[in-house]
């Protein structure tokens, strides 16, 4: 019986080899076949070949992909880094990696180990892979024209210092990151010195630090992503010409958690995003010439916290619904404009019938000042006494910024 099985396996392997030779450029990796490892297949392969990997657990240490090949997994063959290695290290262009499961990269404090690491690689496709416990998941350095699509990356990060990012890009351009599902890393998506890229339709959740984090990455577009329950939300810094549209930021809770943190961002566009139940919906520091329109801020602690060093920002046609505080700021001066937003806290009327309230709305409450200076008073939130204080302040502003006012508050929620 045993002999018979061995015989049939051999026959299968022989058939595979025969097939490989027939349809030129296809190599089959099978635990019981003639080619039993990906490394071996890569040694056999030439540029343009296709390597099909059958199910099994492959422990090959670090595999260097230095040829322009297509590596395709059948039913997610597992490549195990045994907590010691970067699993796939791509050093060639036009490489495709599909349908693999990559696991157990292991924490390193000296090198940026990753599940799939691309260095100086261009025109690659990383698609539909599963990454488990990979320290860094997919890591691109000095690469371009690459697509990272539909990967499922799950880590088990516990501490920031001993964890890596799920998708990490450094010095890249024209990269598409689309439809990936990411959780349990330090940052979900991290970009530094990345330009002209598109980040679309990803779900990044339960990461220790940021769901999305980028710096010095001009001219990129972020669309239809979901960032939820991340330690500190989404942080974007030192960048211009950013477009953030139709994203959802929700349930980012903590003393330093933000739906979206803008630091030194200029000439950018933030539209149609939904900020739901974040400690701070949108935080802006040193950011200027940003248009923030048609976003929805619902049930956040502070919908918008804008520092006085943010100038010429324009908030328009946003919905502010049932937030504990609509707007907070650190100064009586403000250099940003609020106009035509809908505020659920607005109690004015519209006699002129133009759809906008006749009385301006002051979104900064006196109580937010009190809480800032005496945090334990937070327990009085929504007390009638506090509402009366706020009312008095709105009638006669003495501490809140006089110029931070929406003179055209919409009467109806903006659809």
């Amino acid at each position: 019986m045993n002999a018979l099985r061995r015989l049939s396996c051999f026959a299968l392997g022989a058939v595979a080899v025969v097939t490989a030779t027939v349809s030129a450029g296809e190599i089959v990796v099978h635990p019981d076949g003639p080619v039993r490892t990906l490394s071996a297949a890569l040694r056999l392969a030439r540029d343009g070949d296709r390597i099909v990997v059958h199910p099994g657990v492959y422990r090959e240490g670090s595999i260097v992909v230095d040829k322009s090949v297509e590596i395709v997994g059948r039913d997610f063959p597992v490549f195990d880094g045994e907590d010691r290695h970067t699993v796939l290290s791509v050093r060639a262009s036009n490489v495709t990696i599909k349908g693999l499961q990559i696991a157990n990269v292991g924490v390193s404090y000296v090198e940026d180990r990753a599940g799939i690491k691309l260095e100086d690689a261009h025109g690659c496709v990383i698609e539909g892979n599963r990454l488990r416990r990979t320290f860094f998941g997919i890591y691109l350095a000095k690469s371009s024209n690459t697509r990272i699509i539909g990967n499922d990356i799950q880590g088990e990060a516990v501490r920031e210092a001993s964890s890596g990012n799920a998708i990490h890009l450094w010095y890249c351009r024209d990269v598409t990151i689309e439809g990936n599902h990411i959780r349990g890393h330090r940052d979900g998506i991290y970009l530094e010195w990345v330009i002209d890229s598109i980040i679309e339709g990803n779900v990044s959740e339960d990461n220790l630090r940021y769901g999305l984090h980028f710096m010095f990455s001009n001219g990129s577009i972020y669309r239809r992503n979901v960032f939820q329950r991340n330690g500190a939300g989404v942080a974007v810094m030192y960048t211009k010409n950013v477009q953030m549209i139709d994203n959802l930021m929700e349930h980012n809770w903590g003393p330093v958690a933000y739906g979206l943190l803008l630091k030194d961002i200029t000439d950018s566009y933030v539209a149609r995003n939904r900020f739901f139940r974040n400690t701070v919906g949108l935080y802006s520091e040193g950011s200027s010439r940003i248009t923030i329109e048609r976003n929805e801020f619902t049930q956040n602690g502070w919908a918008v916290r804008i520092m006085a060093n943010s100038v010429e920002n324009h908030f328009t046609e946003n919905n502010f619904i049932a937030n504990s505080f609509d707007v907070a700021t650190n100064s009586r001066q403000t250099f940003s404009r609020f106009e035509g937003n809908y505020w659920s806290g607005y109690r004015g009327y519209d006699m002129t019938g133009d759809g906008y309230g006749d009385v301006p709305y002051r979104p900064v409450r006196l109580f937010s000042y009190v809480v800032e200076r005496h945090p334990p008073t937070l327990i009085l939130l929504r007390s009638v006494f506090i509402d009366l204080l706020d009312l008095a302040e709105r009638v006669l502003p003495t501490l809140t910024p006089e110029s931070l006012v929406d003179r055209k508050p919409a009467m109806q929620r903006i659809r």
């Binding site: 619902t298 602690g301 334990p376 008073t377 506090i386 009366l388």
Partner: protein, 263 residues
């Protein structure tokens, strides 16, 4: 016990036939429905209802409760000349007064949510907490109303006391907390502030609701005591637990006085 149910039945009938009772139910119905019509958003409706609940329920329970207790003096005397135990008579009176009030609130508030939905999926617990807080406040302030009516012989005086008590719990008390926090700002005030809120049922209800509405803001707080209090089920357990104590305390006090009282 059987007598209590009978008294409850008559009291209930008598109270729901009161025109003010109908007005009260309609008030909540109209407010919630109007909020839906004008605002449209379930979150906003709940928030406005929270303010209404915290203000109106204590006020109406106190004033209506006190007035009703004075006006049913004859009813009580009639019942006391019958073979009825005072203890069970009082229990029946409290329930007969509190149940219709709570029912009016629950129906008035729930109907529009049934019609329009609760919006976000996460809003259901908030609506439940809102209704729970409303029921607790009704029970507590009806008991306080009965206490006022039992202690004060004079109707006008009782009315004054109930208005003052409402003003104290609804507004003044929080002013005192704010004052204390600002006065002792050099000291860690988290724990004292939490303890202070335990002595005001409206604050307790407010905190229970805040844990639903404003958890996002509360999580932004950096302080061990608050984090512990707000960040887990502790806050919910403490606030609702204290509301249970509050429900029992004025009730038992009023019961004691009622048993001793001369009619």
């Amino acid at each position: 016990m059987k007598t209590t149910l009978k008294i409850l039945k008559y009291e209930f009938h008598n109270v729901i036939r009161n025109r003010w009772m109908l007005a009260y139910a309609l008030f909540f119905l109209v407010i919630s429905e109007a909020l839906f019509q004008f605002g449209g958003d379930a979150s906003k409706v709940m928030l406005s209802l929270m303010n209404v609940t915290l203000l109106i329920i204590p006020l109406v329970s106190l004033v209506f409760g006190t007035m009703y207790a004075y006006n049913s003096r004859e009813f009580i005397e009639l019942l006391l000349s019958q073979p009825v135990d005072r203890k069970w008579l009082f229990v029946g009176m409290h329930a007969g007064l509190a149940l219709p009030l709570a029912l009016a609130f629950v129906i008035g508030v729930t109907m529009p949510f049934v019609i329009h939905g609760v919006g976000e999926a996460g809003n259901t617990p908030t609506v439940v907490a809102l209704i729970g807080a409303g029921i607790f406040l009704t029970l507590i302030f009806v008991a306080l109303a009965l206490l006022i009516a039992v202690v004060n012989e004079d109707k006008g005086r009782g009315f004054g006391v109930s208005i003052l008590l409402w003003l104290f719990f609804a507004v003044i008390y929080d002013g005192l907390i704010l004052l204390a926090t600002l006065t002792f700002r050099e000291y860690p005030m988290e724990q004292p502030v939490i303890v202070m809120t335990l002595f005001n049922p409206i604050d307790l209800a407010r905190i229970a609701l805040m844990l639903q509405f404003d958890i996002s803001a509360l999580m932004g707080y950096t302080g061990a005591v608050f984090e512990e209090f707000f960040g887990s089920v502790t806050g919910m357990v403490v606030s609702f637990g204290s509301l249970v104590v509050w429900t029992a305390f004025p009730f038992l006090l009023a019961l004691r006085r009622f048993i001793q009282k001369d009619f």
